[in-house]
Each structure stands twice: as structure tokens, then as C-alpha cells.
């Protein structure tokens, strides 16, 4: 079946502009995660969704970052007033996860490479 898809695959923007990154999880996966992969910081957790709710936003670096999920499916990560330090690969993952679970593997998308000039 189809895996996790992300768009765009590459995004180049100018400092100060807003960007939106999209994630389409595997159908039926209730849990959705955003991570960021950068040279200096490695792979870091940003936010977790269970259905349309985000019980853990602890990894969002600043209030310029926000995310939403609609219909228990597609998620959008928005970065406002982008800065050069936002340049990274943004990875989305989904899994079959319930509140009583917590150990199912995550399936990752190919990522969006964001470059802020």
C-alpha cells in the first residue's frame, strides 16, 4: 500500500516568509509525528498528533511553528517568518497507535528539505 507522503520534497524560501509543509500519513494510522533533521541537532521530535489532537507539542522550537491535522489524516506544519536556522529536513511519520499502546514502529515519509536563504 501507499506509504507516508510529504510535499513539497524541496522548498527554498527567503528569510521572513511563511512556509507550509504537508504530510499524508498511511491510511488508518491514528498517530502522526513531525521530526526535524538538521546537521547540528540530529533528529529531533517536534509534535505528536493522536487523531486531530496534539497532546504533545513540546518539541516545537518557537511560537513561529504550528501544526494542525484535519480529518484524522493530513497534517500541515507551518513555519512563520522563517529564519535561516529553520533550514533542515522535516520528516513526518505515522503509526498505528492508541493511548494504551506506545511501541508500534513509525513509518516515515521522504521528508521536505527546507532551505531558508
Amino acid at each position: 500500500g501507499a506509504g507516508v507522503s510529504q510535499s513539497p520534497s524541496n522548498k527554498v524560501t527567503e528569510k521572513g516568509k511563511d512556509v507550509e509543509l504537508r504530510c499524508d500519513p498511511i491510511s488508518g494510522h491514528t498517530a502522526l509525528y513531525w521530526y526535524r533533521q538538521s546537521l547540528g541537532q540530529g533528529l529531533e521530535f517536534l509534535i505528536y498528533f493522536q487523531g486531530n489532537s496534539a497532546p504533545d507539542k513540546s518539541g516545537l522550537p518557537s511560537d513561529r511553528f504550528s501544526a494542525e491535522r484535519t480529518g484524522g489524516s493530513v497534517s500541515t506544519l507551518t513555519i512563520q517568518r522563517t529564519q535561516q536556522e529553520d533550514s533542515a529536513v522535516y520528516l513526518c511519520a505515522s503509526s498505528l497507535e492508541g493511548l494504551a499502546g506506545g511501541y508500534n514502529e513509525q513509518f516515515f515519509g521522504p521528508g521536505t528539505r527546507l532551505t531558508v536563504l
Binding site: A31, G42, E44, L91, S95, G101, G102, E105, Q106, G111
Partner: protein
């Protein structure tokens, strides 16, 4: 604090030789451990996980990992390396502090280079 360490930035192996990629962890509670592989310009692919049970876990592409509680290690192994195994490998541990979901804490990654 929950953490994962991958002490080697790079591992070099000759094709056909056994390989080991090291990982140690620090968690409170039971460890849920994962290995992922990343090929160039690709997302992470799941290889295997340890939740409970046998200490030797078998995964995809002939990889296996050995859970050692006393040494808090979860090293990735393969008996015979292939050139196509060359990639970036990440060890991860579940951060269970938030409840029943799988927020992962990743190691810094180890680049595996298999030479013909």
C-alpha cells in the same frame, strides 16, 4: 533523562564481513528500542525493535540486534555485509514519559560504509 548514544560516527566494513553498529541507551522504566536506516535523500526505514522477550531480535534485510540489559546496549549486527547496506543508521528509544505513545529519541546516527 532518556537518551541514546551511538559512539561511532562511521563504521567501515569489507563486503562479506560481519558488521556491528553500536548503541547504548539510558531510560527510566522498560526500554523500547528501535533501529532505523536512512538511504540518501530518503526517509527513515524501520529495521527492527525490541519491546520484550528474546534478547536477540531479527529484523529486515538480514539485520539483527542484541538487547543487553546489564550493559544498556542494543547493538545492530549483520553476519555478512553487503555494499548495498551502506547508509546512515539510527538507534532510537521510546520516550515513555508522555504516556502511551511513541515519541522517539534518536541517537546521532552512524554512517556505515561497506567496501567491495
Amino acid at each position: 533523562a532518556q537518551s541514546v548514544a551511538q559512539p561511532e560516527d562511521q563504521v567501515n566494513v569489507a563486503e562479506g564481513n560481519p558488521l556491528t553498529v553500536k548503541c547504548t541507551y539510558s531510560v527510566s522504566g522498560n526500554p523500547y528500542l528501535f533501529w532505523y536506516v536512512q538511504y540518501p535523500n530518503r526517509g527513515l526505514q524501520f529495521l527492527l525493535k525490541y519491546i520484550t522477550g528474546d534478547n536477540l531480535v531479527k529484523g529486515s534485510y538480514g539485520f539483527e540486534a542484541e538487547f543487553n540489559k546489564s550493559q544498556t546496549s542494543f547493538h545492530l549486527k549483520k553476519p555478512s555485509a553487503l555494499v548495498s547496506d551502506s547508509a546512515l543508521y539510527f538507534c532510537a528509544v521510546r520516550d515513555g514519559r508522555g504516556g502511551g505513545y511513541n515519541k522517539l529519541i534518536f541517537g546521532a546516527g552512524t554512517r556505515l560504509a561497506v567496501h567491495p
